[in-house]
């Protein structure tokens, strides 16, 4: 439409625009930009006043934030994870706490995902018993608070195990008591890295074979036996590497009980030396986080599977695929697109919920920070550090899940 044919009302407005410029204070773009600038300044000013107020208040009660305390010795000693001794600095203690958190979160994420997938499938299985047992599990764990569950697992399960003097001995040798589960420890020898190299080559070969056999299967329609080829490659290179490096790549340290004589003359186990200890605190935290989160992930997986159009499943069955193959090749790949975004939320929840470890004496990053706060008298700095740590952890998990989401998204061409 041209200027000439437009209604007179419109052309009048245009005329004004052509002949005189709009003053700045009435230009909508200037007003909008100006309002935003004013608002931003106001927000910064308010924040500045508030922070300044906090700092003044803290200075008035002699608690000005400093960073000196990070270099001071922590003065206590604990064994969880890498452990810390009293001469280590506060900063090292914080890092050990962080490592402990990551130990719990990483294992928790993997186990919760695996269990959650099985739960989701079991919720839809035609098998009445399995479906109802799973349903009961999901409802119980989804509808009770995690803190209650954690304390239950710690005090009611792992601390109710036999006392150390009556520790249950299992073949292995493995010792189980309410001081934890002690299993044989593997110590890598100096040829271990070399052997690891063989193993990596084995995995690369396995991946290559998987791809090649997959192509073979799709092109010829003959079974490709991908799994067999891949496993054979990994095991083959592992054994080859073992023979080639000329030495055992690791040594096994067996745990052994240390006995002590009571005044009555009885000999009892005092502690277990050597081996790797899984503490009851760690076990309770991981079990609690996994069972709680897997109940939610199970529901997400169920919803994801149900979101796949039923025609897809019928088509797969019509092609002669088994129930397992239908799930693996048709349903799960499509369900994944629906599952990934809410799954990321559950991962974030698990990571943040790990801070409840403080209730069961697990030395995670938050528990250690509380000790640091008490030892140093500084509150703000350790708390900010903890918050930034959790923030970083959550952002990393979010970033990974977003990337996964992007790469699995339906490609529109």
């Amino acid at each position: 439409m041209t200027q000439r044919t437009s209604p007179p009302h419109h052309s009048a407005v245009v005329d004004v625009g052509e002949h005189q410029t709009i003053p700045l204070w009435r230009d909508i773009r200037v007003i909008q930009a100006g309002a935003q600038i004013i608002f931003a300044i106001a927000v910064i000013a308010v924040l500045f006043v508030l922070v300044n107020n906090i700092l003044n208040g803290l200075a008035a009660i002699g608690q000005s934030p400093t960073l000196d305390f990070w270099q001071r010795p922590i003065g206590i000693n604990f064994n969880e994870g890498p452990g810390i001794s009293s001469t280590d600095t506060t900063w090292q203690a914080f890092l050990v706490g962080l490592i402990n958190t990551l130990r719990a979160v990483s294992v928790g994420l993997v186990l919760a995902t695996i269990l959650g997938i099985f739960v989701g499938i079991a919720l839809l299985t035609p098998n009445w018993l399995v479906r109802n047992i799973t349903q009961t599990y999901v409802e119980i764990f989804r509808n009770t608070p995690l803190l209650v569950q954690l304390i239950f697992f710690y005090q009611g399960v792992f601390r109710a195990l036999p006392q150390i003097r009556n520790a249950a001995t299992m073949p292995g040798p493995v010792y189980l008591s309410n001081r934890g589960l002690v299993i044989p420890a593997f110590h890598p020898t100096e040829v271990f890295p070399l052997w690891l190299l063989y193993l990596v080559v084995g995995f690369v070969t396995a991946g290559f074979l998987w791809y090649v056999r997959g192509r073979f299967q799709t092109e010829t329609g003959q079974p490709g036996y991908q799994m067999r080829y891949a496993l054979l490659a990994i095991i083959g290179f592992a054994v080859l590497g073992w023979l080639a490096v000329g030495n055992v790549p690791w040594t096994v340290e067996l745990p052994s009980p240390v006995m002590r004589e009571l005044p009555t003359g009885d000999m009892v186990i005092q502690r277990i030396e050597g081996g790797e200890t899984i503490s009851p605190e760690y076990a309770a935290l991981v079990v609690g986080l996994v069972l709680y989160t897997a109940a939610f992930i199970g529901e997400i997986v169920r919803a994801g599977i149900q979101a796949v159009s039923h025609g897809q499943i019928e088509a797969a069955r019509a092609l002669g695929l088994t129930y397992g193959q239908t799930l693996q090749l048709v349903v799960l790949p499509q369900a994944l697109r629906v599952i990934i975004p809410p799954l990321g939320n559950q991962y974030l929840n698990l990571a943040k919920n790990s801070s409840l470890a403080i209730a069961i004496a697990f030395a995670d990053v938050f528990a250690i920070s509380r000790t640091i706060i008490n030892q140093s008298g500084q509150t703000i700095v350790p708390f900010m550090t903890v918050m930034l740590t959790y923030l970083a952890m959550s952002l990393i998990i979010s970033a990974v899940m977003n990337w996964l989401n992007q790469s699995l998204k339906l490609k529109e061409r």
Partner: protein
């Protein structure tokens, strides 16, 4: 658009004013003495323990917090308001973790919660400490009959302690000095630490001796546990208040000293009326009858309470309603009571102990 802009401006101005105003509030709060603050509020907020039998313990039957430390809270409320009721005294239960920030931020006016006086707390945490009302020391509790009676027996032991206390540092020092191996497990509350010890998660529970004795006494079978008679740290426990508030410090300190002074003078809750001035008795007659020291503590004219900003005779009500130091001690730690603790260092200085009040004149 114009309306939006206007409301935006109003909002910004309001926010600015609010933040400036709150800043002003905090600053003025800093300058006001806690004594005036407490008087304006009409109520003293005293931080206490609610888990430690004998010191500060929430009695499950009466739902009231009672104990040795709580008596001092009551004494402070009586000294300021003349009575300790639910109106004039609020007991605020604090954990080992929350107690020091609660004082530093002014959430509680004074803290009497078996808190050890240490140099770093006195300097770094923004606190000042009042006179020690209980001399304690850290000790060890083990299961009886396990033969864990010396430090060497503890080699390889698992030790449970409560985080947020000085005990975790003390036990570390002791074990490290002797080159002993051990595993330290830290719990959030004394109740958690104790239940872990009772379950056999650890061989040893370590804390202040008084606390261990209290836990042992409250356990289902006290004979099954053994508390070492020795102590290995100085744990002077006393009231804590915010630093640099001299007037408030004086009120707290001299109330405690007054209770000690009264025991020294032989004045207790049952006989305090005998030491008061009778109607029409002149200064000279009164002093001749009870002595100048008693008059300076108890009398409405000759008493020195006014110098603290309190009534001259504030100690009369404190003694009537709470009692002197020895009385309060016997109320909770008597030899025939549920929690017998020998007075030992907590005897008056006259009897060879450490309990001593400066001159009341």
């Amino acid at each position: 658009m114009l309306r939006n802009r206007r409301s935006l401006l109003v909002l910004v101005t309001a926010l600015l004013a609010l933040s400036l105003f709150s800043g002003a509030l905090v600053v003025s709060g800093q300058e006001q003495s806690t004594l005036d603050l407490v008087r304006d509020r009409g109520r003293l907020i005293c931080g206490v323990n609610q888990e430690l039998f004998g010191f500060g313990y929430l009695d499950p039957e009466t739902s009231e917090i009672t104990g040795f430390d709580v008596e001092f809270c009551r004494a402070f409320a009586v000294a300021i308001f003349g009575e300790a009721s639910s109106d004039t005294l609020e007991l605020s239960p604090q954990t080992a973790q929350t107690r020091l920030p609660a004082v530093a931020t002014g959430e509680v006016d004074v803290l009497v919660r078996n808190t050890t006086w240490t140099l770093s707390r006195d300097t770094e945490a923004g606190l000042d400490f009042g006179p020690t009302n209980f001399y304690d020391g850290q000790s060890i509790m083990v299961r009886a009959g396990e033969g864990l009676e010396t430090w060497e027996d503890l080699d390889g032991a698992t030790i449970c302690t409560t985080t947020g206390t000085t005990t975790e540092k003390n036990i570390t020092d002791q074990m490290d000095e002797r080159g002993l191996t051990y595993e330290l497990l830290q719990f959030e509350s004394t109740a958690d630490t104790n239940s872990a010890f009772m379950d056999g998660r650890c061989d040893v529970q370590t804390s202040d001796r008084s606390q261990l004795e209290a836990l042992r006494a409250a356990s289902p079978d006290p004979a099954a546990y053994y508390v070492w008679p020795t102590t290995f740290s100085k744990e002077p426990l006393g009231p804590v208040y915010r630093q640099n508030d001299s007037q408030w410090a004086d009120v707290i300190n001299w109330t405690v000293f007054g209770m000690i002074q009264a025991e020294e003078l032989g004045i207790d809750s049952s006989n305090v009326d005998d030491f008061l001035r009778q109607d029409g008795e002149s200064d000279d007659d009164y002093i001749a009858r009870v002595g100048a020291q008693v008059a300076r503590v108890l009398d409405a004219d000759l008493g020195l309470g006014g110098l603290l900003g309190l009534n001259n005779d504030f100690m009369v009500e404190v003694l009537r309603q709470v009692g002197n130091y020895g009385e309060v001690y016997e109320r909770y730690f008597a030899a025939d009571g549920p929690l017998p603790i020998e007075r030992g260092p907590n005897e008056l200085w006259l009897n060879g102990g450490l309990i001593y009040a400066p001159a009341w004149r």
